[in-house]
């Protein structure tokens, strides 16, 4: 489920897309595309947007998924950051994300933390993470 989701993010970012776009742009079989859209919507990865008078639904990547994926970490996080094009824009840096949007970045984790979390009550939607191997990596001995 994650792979086609990441591919959809890579291709459409946070713009709306239709089942037909998955077929056309990603080369998915129409049955596979429909199945993915249905499952990804159920899992909350995608948001359905139905427009009045239009028969075909449009879908959009759910921005709140970004936080979940970053907090889970690992390969999925790396793939998502890559799909969003962040590896080329912020290599080795720390970024603060609200949904799909990078709201701040810094090579120093603590400087970024000072700006984003001036107190412990700061808003919950924002997540901080590294893009690739940090230039100023935190090291611990134990």
């Amino acid at each position: 489920m994650m792979r086609p989701f990441v591919e959809a993010v890579r291709t459409f970012k946070w713009e709306p897309f239709r089942s037909a776009d998955l077929v056309e742009k990603l080369g998915y079989a129409s049955g596979y595309a429909r199945n993915f859209l249905s499952q990804a919507t159920r899992q909350g990865l995608l948001i359905v947007e139905s427009k009045k008078g239009k028969r075909e639904k449009t879908f959009r990547a759910n921005p709140s998924v970004v936080r979940e994926i970053v907090l889970k970490g690992g390969k999925e996080k790396e793939e998502l950051l890559q799909a969003l094009g962040l590896h080329s824009r912020y290599p080795g840096q720390y970024i603060a994300l609200r949904g799909f949007k990078v709201i701040d970045h810094d090579a120093d984790l603590y400087r970024l933390g000072e700006r984003i979390f001036p107190d412990t009550e700061a808003e919950d939607e924002i997540v901080i993470t590294n893009v690739g191997k940090p230039k100023k990596m935190i090291t611990i001995e134990v």
């Binding site: 970053v70 907090l71 889970k72 970490g73 690992g74 996080k77 720390y94 984790l109 603590y110 933390g113 000072e114 979390f117 001036p118 107190d119 412990t120 009550e121 700061a122 919950d124 924002i126 997540v127 901080i128 993470t129 590294n130 191997k133 940090p134 990596m137 935190i138 090291t139 611990i140 001995e141 134990v142």
Partner: protein
């Protein structure tokens, strides 16, 4: 210079290790802990699982860190650290680790005495 405030080594492992008592807070929760002084840690603070539970910290992200055993991805928390003897009150990001640690950022710009003979870690103050 004279010896100022000292903190006893902890001896729950051998050899005993230096600690500094700090107060951590998040929201309306507060906890006093004595993290290990880790001069190989280039950050402010690492919070162990017990402190995370007591303060009910929720992760604000994940970052890659380098430890003695290799690289790993750890959660980060926003926490307020206070240490009266260092005149320190500062909200910072703390990484989540197995045990609590204080790093070099908390030690910098001060002179310290690592007194293995008497099992204490002390802040030196000008006379």
């Amino acid at each position: 210079m004279e010896i100022g405030r000292c903190w006893d080594f902890k001896d729950d492992e051998q050899p005993p290790y230096p600690t500094i008592k700090v107060t951590l807070s998040s929201g309306d929760r507060e906890a006093m802990i004595a993290p290990k002084v880790d001069t190989g840690f280039n950050g402010w603070l690492a919070v162990g699982a017990e402190a995370v539970r007591r303060l009910r910290l929720t992760p604000r992200g994940t970052v890659l860190v380098r430890a003695a055993t290799g690289h790993s991805e750890v959660p980060v928390y926003a926490v307020k650290i206070s240490q009266a003897d260092l005149a320190l009150t500062y909200t910072t990001l703390a990484i989540g680790t197995e045990r609590s640690l204080v790093g070099r950022k908390l030690l910098e710009n001060r002179i310290w005495l690592l007194d293995h003979k008497n099992g204490r870690f002390c802040m030196m103050t000008p006379t």
